[in-house]
Symmetry: C2
Subunit: 210 residues, 2 copies
């Protein structure tokens, strides 16, 4: 990834936060030169290994299931908010007009080794934690025990757990840090009027603030 | 990509709409077995070739610039709205409890051949159209002619146009079409309360509606 210094983010808690708030990763593996890409809601285990471990599950009907007969290199992209940035919003535009449009976005790119784990207990753990996390905003959070035993057994037989030990992780937080503080604030104001989540990120990650 | 029949989408105008509404693509190429991934706002030319052509630009400082010394296979992912789906929202939950959580999302996966075009006129065309599209909601749309000639020349010298002739394109529109009409409508209602764009897609793409 092209990653100019301004936008480079290697603060692990920041990268982990982005993953946990945007857990649907684009999981990419390469086999015989061909790309296989799938969208998987991951759980991040921050405590395992040097950079954490991503855990999830896939359908046995997924082409990935047989590709993963052996551990493989994996690349996962997590994407947060993004927005087109008009040069009209830059403070200096009316003085010198030396401005062009751009796109802001925040992404985390992860590399690691993916393997499937045909381990019923591990799979149940992954599903229980994934469910607990995402049901936490429900008035009456659903849990696996709510469903009949035979139904859950049927569902579990169709899927398998996967885990990715993270070997490298980097973020590109491209949120106007290469502009003056006035430009950045004006962009944030314009995006706030559009109710864009990008407004908050520009303010949060501006060099003087982080 | 794992793509069950319920979620398979090959209607070209639908796929093109998703790209145009979510133009920041994840562009993936493989060189010597290594993945290089970048986030590029693409213009879609619907009229060229069998499945259209994606046009964009990259910085010459991008590692991709030298990788593209020859045309290469490219994989591009465009992602629209996504949402966690609680089984609490399914109509049948209170009767039989035979339900589990899932994730809804809409994506388009494109394969094609990417090449760089060191052609000043082509590059200006790409930038002018990209700008026109994304400035269309501005009260006074910015255009390249607003900036001083020497400044634009400087900027153009730092970038190069790229194009991807689309050779295959497919969508996964996973928006509750595998549930009963009552379940789907209940999910849409719950998501509407969260102001999720997914609510509209569930109703739009339900099998009886599309």
């Amino acid at each position: 990834m092209y990653l100019p210094t301004h936008f480079y983010q290697d603060n692990l808690p920041e990268l982990f936060d982005l993953i946990e708030k945007n857990p649907l990763g684009s999981l990419i593996v390469v086999q015989d030169g061909e790309i296989e890409a799938n969208h998987i809601p991951f759980e991040l285990d921050r405590s395992e290994g040097e950079f954490g471990v991503l855990k999830g599950h896939i359908a046995k009907a997924n082409p990935l299931f047989s590709i993963l007969n052996e551990p493989l290199s994996a690349y996962v992209i997590f994407q947060a908010e993004q927005a087109y940035i008009s040069p009209n919003w830059y403070e200096g535009k009316l003085e010198h007009h030396r401005v062009v449009p751009t796109w802001n976005y925040r992404v985390v790119h992860v590399k690691g080794t993916i393997q499937k784990l045909e381990d019923d207990r591990y799979l149940r753990g992954v599903l229980a934690r994934l469910t607990r996390t995402h049901e936490s905003t429900q008035a009456l959070p659903w849990k696996m025990g709510d469903a009949p035993h035979d139904f859950i057994e049927e569902q579990l037989a169709k899927i398998v757990a996967v885990e990715i030990k993270i070997e490298s992780i980097v973020g590109k937080f491209k949120v106007s840090q290469n502009r003056s503080v006035d430009d950045a604030e004006n962009v944030a104001k314009a995006l706030q009027e559009q109710n864009s989540a990008m407004a908050e990120s520009i303010r949060k990650y501006y060099p003087n603030n982080s």
